[in-house]
């Protein structure tokens, strides 16, 4: 569902150092009393991006969004939108619209009036407002619901009205605060798809705040992971998942097995870690900035670990350890194995169930070998 890249240079301006960002956030800090909700955040967002701000509650993602909308004034730093300084511009004078988490529909107005509200404030002539409202109702597939009041709509319909209302003024930038948070799982998946489609059709820049990592991964062109008021990592979904830059990001996105190890070999082409927790050496097939005898963290995703009954080859005399299957969680498409290593460490391993009802599958209390490729794990220094 993520945006399909057409030509790399066109759709990924963040990879082009000479591209001009559409939203430029510079050293933004917001303090409430003595507490910094957002601390020294700098961020560039490009035109037509669908940027996700991902973080837990209290990570400052919503505060950052509210500063972009103009509901909060930054304590320091600047916000530039489309080349204009917007730091101290009132919300009603910004070329930005927001879709609220609670949808914030006007309860005393019907769907059409809700959508038309912003257009009326702009003083557009009546026929044009009517045309635009009809167009938006078609866009969100609510043609027959124009005369309904918000309380006569279902959650999904309200969400679409809120989206249509936020899009009505054709904003340069649309801010979405947990746009799918109030919908149930099935509806959320459908709506995600719709949202991306609408975003692609209109070419509006979207900034989405969410705490749901799956949502962020499937929607976004890029994700900004926030932690305690700071940006922990900015990157494309694959970067964030496969190449996390810190223990926090690795642990926050998806599940991960993380162990510590001591550097025993530090070559430009590879690194060898000795890990008591894994009960073996870890051979990493690329250079890492570290020093001999440094203690590092090493993380691997459960699906990148392999289990076998027979002893696998160990080309570097590393990356193979032994354990016993302690527990199995069968999820249908895959199974989650919890393997107790001889060292006492528990590993989480997932295996895709490619064979139907496999009678030969590894089962409870079986001793197994655990192995992984030299490029599968991430070395994390922070």
């Amino acid at each position: 569902m993520a945006k399909k890249p057409l030509i790399a240079a066109d759709t990924r301006p963040w990879r082009d150092p000479s591209a001009t960002p559409f939203v430029r956030i510079r050293n933004i800090t917001k303090k409430f009393g003595d507490v910094a909700a957002v601390h020294d955040v700098s961020l560039d967002i490009f035109k037509s991006e669908l940027f996700c701000l991902l973080g837990g509650s209290g990570s400052g993602k919503s505060t950052l969004l509210r500063m972009l909308a103009g509901f909060e004034t930054p304590t320091s730093g600047t916000i530039e939108i489309d080349g204009q300084d917007m730091t101290h511009v009132a919300p009603y004078n910004r070329p930005v619209n927001m879709m609220f988490q609670s949808y914030a529909l006007f309860p005393h107005m019907n769907v059409e009036q809700n959508i038309a509200y912003g257009l009326k404030r702009d003083g557009l002539p009546k026929p044009e407002i009517a045309d635009r409202v009809a167009e938006l109702l078609t866009l969100v597939k609510l043609q027959d619901y124009g005369a309904r009041k918000p309380h006569q709509l279902s959650g999904g319909q309200r969400q679409r009205v809120a989206l249509a209302r936020a899009l009505a003024k054709r904003p340069k930038l649309l801010l979405l605060d947990e746009p799918l948070g109030a919908l149930d799982k099935k509806l959320r998946e459908e709506t995600q798809f719709e949202l991306v489609k609408i975003q692609e059709t209109l070419g509006v820049t979207f900034i989405v705040v969410t705490h749901d990592q799956e949502e962020a991964m499937s929607l976004a062109t890029r994700i900004g992971v926030m932690n305690q008021g700071e940006i922990a990592m900015i990157g494309e979904p694959t970067d964030i998942y496969e190449f996390p830059n810190s223990k926090f990001v690795a642990g926050f996105i998806g599940s991960v097995n993380m162990v510590e190890g001591v550097v025993t070999e530090d070559e430009p082409g590879h690194v060898r870690l000795r890990s008591a927790e894994m009960g073996c050496d870890i051979y990493v097939g690329h250079g890492v900035e570290c020093a001999p005898d440094q203690i590092l963290s090493w993380a691997i995703r459960p699906e990148k670990v392999m289990l076998s009954r027979d002893k696998p080859d160990a080309p570097f005399d590393a990356n193979v350890t032994k354990g016993v299957v302690e527990d199995i969680g069968y999820l249908g498409d895959m199974s989650v194995y919890q393997v107790l290593l001889d060292s006492g460490k528990r590993l989480r391993v997932t295996q895709t169930n490619t064979v139907r009802g496999n009678p030969d599958a590894i089962t409870w209390d079986e001793p197994v070998y655990v192995t992984w490729n030299d490029t599968s794990g991430s070395v994390l220094t922070v």
């Binding site: 919300p91 609220f100 309860p107 404030r121 702009d122 006569q152 279902s154 003024k169």
Partner: protein, 269 residues
């Protein structure tokens, strides 16, 4: 104790406790006899007498005017106070302000009335305004204490109101003032209506404060009734009270019907 008979009996007792006095008053307003407590036959003559009593009619008209004007003034002031208390969470002297706004509710009427009287006398001698006591002073006095009640009603409505609805309006280009009139006001309108009605009733009801701050020639209806009753209850007071009950009952009925009509009709596709 079975629920089968307990509930109807409790309800009958409760309602008769509340409404028996009113019903007996309505019945006796149609009594032909001059003595209120002796029934001698059906008659509507006291209603006729009432409508030929210019003092009674004048007092009723004055009371209605005072109630309407003071409720309106109190509504504006009370709403402003409520908005300040709910919307501006922290300003200097907020606690003091909130305490002082609600103080008139717990203040005994006698004290409110007396202090108002002293204030008006002092103002008259110092500023020359308000000149004498009459309708104006009653309106001022009633506005101040009704404001406290209205403030509480509006405050509770504002407090459970989703702030992001206002933010959404501003986000769509409405200035804060525009937002207040387009969004906030319509949403809190039910509280404003009930606040106004509350202020109206409080003013219409009040005897004590009005007695302190009224002047010659400006007796409100409760004052006139009270002075008449002091000379013995006359049946035309019953007739007047019955008319008031009828008006109030009709008002309540209409309000309920309107509410039932505008109740959300939950139609789901």
């Amino acid at each position: 104790m079975r629920r089968g008979w307990f509930l109807p009996i409790a309800a009958t007792l409760g309602f008769s406790f509340l409404y028996a006095p009113i019903i007996s008053m309505v019945v006796f307003s149609f009594n032909e006899n001059r003595l209120v407590t002796v029934w001698s036959g059906f008659s509507t003559k006291w209603y006729g007498e009432l409508f030929n009593d210019p003092q009674m009619l004048g007092a009723a008209w004055l009371s209605l005017q005072i109630a309407a004007i003071s409720a309106t003034i109190a509504l504006v002031l009370g709403t402003l106070a409520a908005v300040a208390l709910v919307r501006f969470r922290s300003f200097r002297g907020r606690t003091l302000f909130s305490g002082m706004v609600s103080a008139p509710m717990v203040m005994p009427d006698v004290i409110t009335g007396l202090s108002m009287l002293l204030l008006f006398v002092a103002m008259e001698s110092l500023l020359g305004w308000p000149a004498g006591r009459g309708m104006l002073t009653i309106v001022i006095a009633h506005s101040t204490f009704a404001m406290a009640y209205i403030c509480v009603v509006v405050q509770s409505r504002l407090a459970d109101f989703d702030r992001s609805v206002e933010e959404a309006a501003m986000d769509l280009g409405a200035s804060p003032l525009r937002t207040f009139f387009d969004i906030t006001l319509p949403i809190i309108a039910p509280a404003l209506v009930s606040g106004w009605l509350l202020g109206f009733t409080l003013s219409l009801d009040d005897l004590v404060i009005a007695s302190f701050v009224s002047g010659p020639g400006s007796s409100t209806l409760p004052m006139v009734i009270f002075s008449k009753v002091k000379l013995g209850v006359s049946p035309d007071v019953n007739a007047l009270a019955t008319i008031i009950v009828a008006i109030v009952a009709t008002g309540v009925l209409i309000a309920t019907l309107i509410q039932l009509r505008s109740k959300p009709k939950r139609a789901r596709p």
